[in-house]
Amino acid sequence: MNLHDLTLAQTARALADKQFSSREVTQHYLDRIARLDKTYNSFITVTAEQALAEADAADARRAAGNAAFLTGVPFAHKDIFCTQGVRTSCGSRMLDNFISPYDATVVAKYREQGLVMLGKTNMDEFAMGSSNETSWYGPVKNPWDTGCVPGGSSGGSAACVAARLAPGATATDTGGSIRQPAALCGITGLKPTYGRVSRWGMIAFASSLDQAGPMARTAEDVALLLGAMAGFDPKDSTSLDRDVPDYAAALGNELAGLKIGVPKEYFGAGLNPQTAERVQAALREYEKLGARLVEISLPHSHLAVPAYYVIAPAECSANLSRFDGVRYGYRCENPQDLMDLYCRSRAEGFGEEVKRRILVGAYALSAGFYDAYYRKAQQVRRLIQQDFVEAFKEVDVIMGPTSPSPAFAFGAKGSDPVAMYLEDIYTIATNLAGLPGMSLPCGLVDNKPVGLQVIGNYFDEARMLNVAHRYQQVTDWHAQAPAGVMA
């Protein structure tokens, strides 16, 4: 069996059993990346030397008897997490030269566990996108069909896991950026409850919506990675002080009696019929596992995308003001004066989608428009949250499709930005409400993966992972690999 066939959990157990060393498995993945990633472009920076050094250190730690369960396991960080001494580009020319002087908390936590970083994965620029087509470093190709997008913004993390270039990866989700690429690449990804994972060192896009989360091939893997990243951080005012449960412990719980809410608004127009059919099949599988399906309504669903495209751009328009060519990052050549320094550094450093969202944000906040847009969107946000709160009085989890269709071809969304925005139509509401959401593979349409979305109540990640794990015990969609990656 190839080392890259092993799930993250299997890799950890094998390391514990001394079936191979961390150096061996790390070298294995580095070789695969060197050989295969030119096809997928899932990595922006590969930290080969550092990875091997970390692997050796992990092996030494294991030999000394100090290894944690995840020590020595290779993985990748989305290039949105600040990694000390390593380029952190956020997929943008603006930060192409940014060598971070500090570690994000998520990075520090993984380092402390002894996980081995293979490199930084590609992403839509500043996490703005649903296809990984906006990266300064070129688009990422979907391993299932390289003429298609992997989804975004965490396209690189999703693709590298799907292509077996890493057994797991970190990612972030602001409107669906973990779940949608997980769905399009046939892997499992989870966005935790807002405040569950620290945002310190995670380059901000929309501060009240961003959350870090893991991507891997199985619910068990995701449970392990989540446990290693979750927890209170005093450096993040929006981080919640709540115990981190042992996510792996509850994976095997019975599902009998589980009430699954199925929102009727998520099965309407715009949903690819074959995708719908695969998701329905998954729901029937859950009934066989003992769950009960309950039709629910989230009546303000249609307002989620409009509300998001006010709030996220508004927050990002301020968050990205720090990129001005003064203290770090891209600076234009020969600035004539201060205005020129700012205007040209930002015009040249940012891509089109980023600029567009900054301008939308400035518009939504500007004098005379604040009430009609920003304030209105925040009110709608509360209505959307209330929909979920009501629903969770009746059901334990909510399920539906993650994405309206499987992976689409590059350039398919054309020049109308809104067509791209509608990719996130099922995922966005969870970010607005701050709820946890995950996607797991539940089928293939034209040999392209389909994702089942599971939305949980606040801090109910353990149950969501349990729900996903039980499904993965009776199906094998999550074990399928794209053709061509197994070599």
Binding site: N97, F98, I99, P101, Y194, G195, S208, P234, S237, T238, L240, H302, L303, P306, A307, V310, S317, G325, V326, R327, Y328, R331, P335, D337, L338, D340, L341, Y342, R344, R346, A347, F350, E352, K355, R356, I358, L359, V360, A362, Y363, A364, S366, A372, Y373, R375, K376, Q378, Q379, V380, R382, L383, Q385, S415, D416, P417, V418, Y421, A433, G434, L435
Partner: protein, 95 residues
């Protein structure tokens, strides 16, 4: 809802982003598309609803007044585009 070119220029100035002629035209069009999307919000009945700035029902934690950060100038300025005598350099600021 369409947006005027001149409004886009104004926004670009506020946001300190230079827009050349072709970008301005393209941006004006695409911004119009996005504004049409977010205008859908106007149909929502939000009377009496409190705006929600945070998904958490939590309050700000306070930290003790202790100096925890030492001088890190060397490390932090190593990545700066232009530094002299410990200062970040920019084209002259006129008040």
């Amino acid at each position: 809802m369409a947006i005027e070119r001149q409004q886009v220029e104004q926004l670009a100035r506020l946001a300190r982003i230079a827009l050349d002629e072709s970008t301005l035209a393209r941006t004006t069009a695409s911004l119009g598309d996005v504004l049409a999307l977010i205008d859908q919000l106007q149909a929502a009945d939000t009377a009496g609803i409190e705006p929600m700035a945070h998904p958490l029902d939590a309050v700000q934690r306070l930290r003790p007044d202790v100096v925890t950060e030492p001088d890190q100038r060397a490390a932090l300025q190593a990545i700066a585009p232009a530094v002299e005598a410990g200062l970040f350099l920019v084209p002259k600021v006129i008040e």
